[in-house]
C-alpha cells in the first residue's frame, strides 16, 4: 500500500519536469512609435495683470470646447518586469489652436496580463512640453490612460490606447494697447489649463 502511494506521488510530480524554470527577472529594452488624435474638450484660463497705463485686468473663464489636434511620438525604455514597462517619450503633439509642443515625458505602463500576451493595460505619463514657438518656454503635461495590448510576436506588439491629458501652462500675456508682453512683475495670476481626450495606436518592438 505504501509503495503504491509513493509511486502515485512520483507519477503526479512527473509533469513538473516539463514546466520551464522561471527565468530570473531580467530587464529588456523596448522602443516604439505612437500616433493618434487629440481632442481638447476643456479649457480654463485665469489671468490677472497690470497694463502699462496702470489699470488692472482680471480675466477668468472656463468651459467646454472642441479643438482637434494630433500627436506623433517615439519612445525608448525598459521592460522592468513582465508586467511593468518604463519609457521616455518625445515627438510632437498639439494642445490647442496654434499651440504645439515637443513633449518630454516619462510613462509607466502596467500590463494586467504578461506583456507577451494579449490583454488590457493602463499607464501614467508625466513630463514637460517644449513650446514649438519658443523651445525655452515649457508647460506641464500629465496623462492617465488605458488600452488593449496585442502581442503580435515575441518582438512586436500593437496597442490601442485612450487617455485623458491635462496641460498646465502660463502663456505670455500681451498688452492689448501696446502689443508688447506684460513684464513678469506686473502679473499676479497667469494660469491656463487644457483637458483633452486622446486616442492613439502604438507599435512597440
Amino acid at each position: 500500500m505504501r509503495r503504491q502511494v509513493i509511486i502515485s506521488i512520483l507519477l503526479l510530480l512527473l509533469p513538473c519536469l516539463a514546466l520551464p524554470a522561471r527565468e530570473p527577472g531580467t530587464a529588456s529594452f523596448r522602443f516604439g512609435i505612437e500616433w493618434g488624435g487629440c481632442s481638447t474638450l476643456y479649457t480654463a484660463m485665469h489671468q490677472n495683470y497690470t497694463v502699462e497705463d496702470g489699470y488692472r485686468v482680471d480675466e477668468n473663464h472656463a468651459g467646454g470646447t472642441f479643438i482637434g489636434n494630433a500627436q506623433m511620438l517615439a519612445n525608448a525604455g525598459v521592460n522592468i518586469t513582465p508586467h511593468i514597462a518604463l519609457a521616455a517619450y518625445s515627438g510632437l503633439t498639439g494642445i490647442s489652436k496654434d499651440f504645439r509642443v515637443v513633449p518630454l515625458t516619462l510613462r509607466g505602463t502596467y500590463f494586467f496580463k504578461d506583456m507577451h500576451c494579449d490583454g488590457m493595460l493602463c499607464y501614467l505619463d508625466g513630463g514637460v512640453g517644449l513650446k514649438c514657438k519658443n523651445l525655452s518656454d515649457i508647460c506641464t503635461l500629465l496623462s492617465a490612460g488605458t488600452g488593449y495590448h496585442l502581442a503580435l510576436s515575441r518582438a512586436v506588439s500593437l496597442e490601442f490606447l485612450a487617455c485623458v491629458r491635462l496641460t498646465l501652462d502660463s502663456p505670455d500675456i500681451m498688452d492689448p494697447d501696446t502689443g508688447k508682453a506684460i513684464p513678469a512683475e506686473n502679473i499676479r495670476v497667469n494660469n491656463a489649463r487644457y483637458g483633452a481626450l486622446n486616442f492613439s495606436v502604438a507599435l512597440s518592438f
Binding site: A70, M72, L92, D98, L152, S153, R154, L158
Partner: protein, 191 residues
Amino acid sequence: MRRKSPIVLSMIILLCFCFRAEAQDYSFGLYSSLKGIGAVFEHSRPGNCFNCYSAIMDIYGMPTGRSNMPGAHFSFSHNVIYRESERNGVIYRLYWGTGGSMGFLHDFEKGLFASPGGTVLRRNYGFMAALDGNYGCKFIFRDELSIDLRFTGEFGFHMRRDEIHGNTDLACYLNGLFRAFHPQLIISYLF
C-alpha cells in the same frame, strides 16, 4: 418526364457557365501616414497579386497649422508579391505595384509652419489625378493581422482655381513626388 425537363434544362444551361470560383483573402485596415489617415481594403488575386483600394483624408498643411480642412484622396493599385518568407511565425511579403489616384486636395506650397501673416496655404483646393507606383513590405502576424510599410509616388496633375487672376491653373501635382518618401503604415485585419 415533362415535370423534370425544366430542371434538367436549367442544369444543362448552368453547366455551360462554369464560373471560376476561388477562395479569396480580404483585409480591411487603417491607413496612417504624414500624408493622411483613412481606410484601406485589399483582396487577393490569382498569381500572387492583390488589389488595394484606399480612401484617405489628406492632411497636407494641417499638422503644422497651415490649413484646418483636410482634402479627399482615393486610390487603386494592383500589386505583385515577388518575394515571401517566414521567420519566427511572421510572414514577410515584398511587393510592388502600380495604379491610379484622384482627389480634391491642396498641392505643395513653400514653408513648413504657419506664422502670423506668413505661410498659411494660399492656393485653393483643386482636383488631382495621377498614376501611382507602390513599393512595400507586408508583415503578417498570427494569420489574422498584417502591418504594411509602403511608399507611394504619384505622377499627375493638379487643377485649381486662381482667385487673384480669375483663371484656372493646371500644374504638376508636386506633393505626389515630394511625399513619395513619406512612409505609410497600414494595419489590417485579414478575413
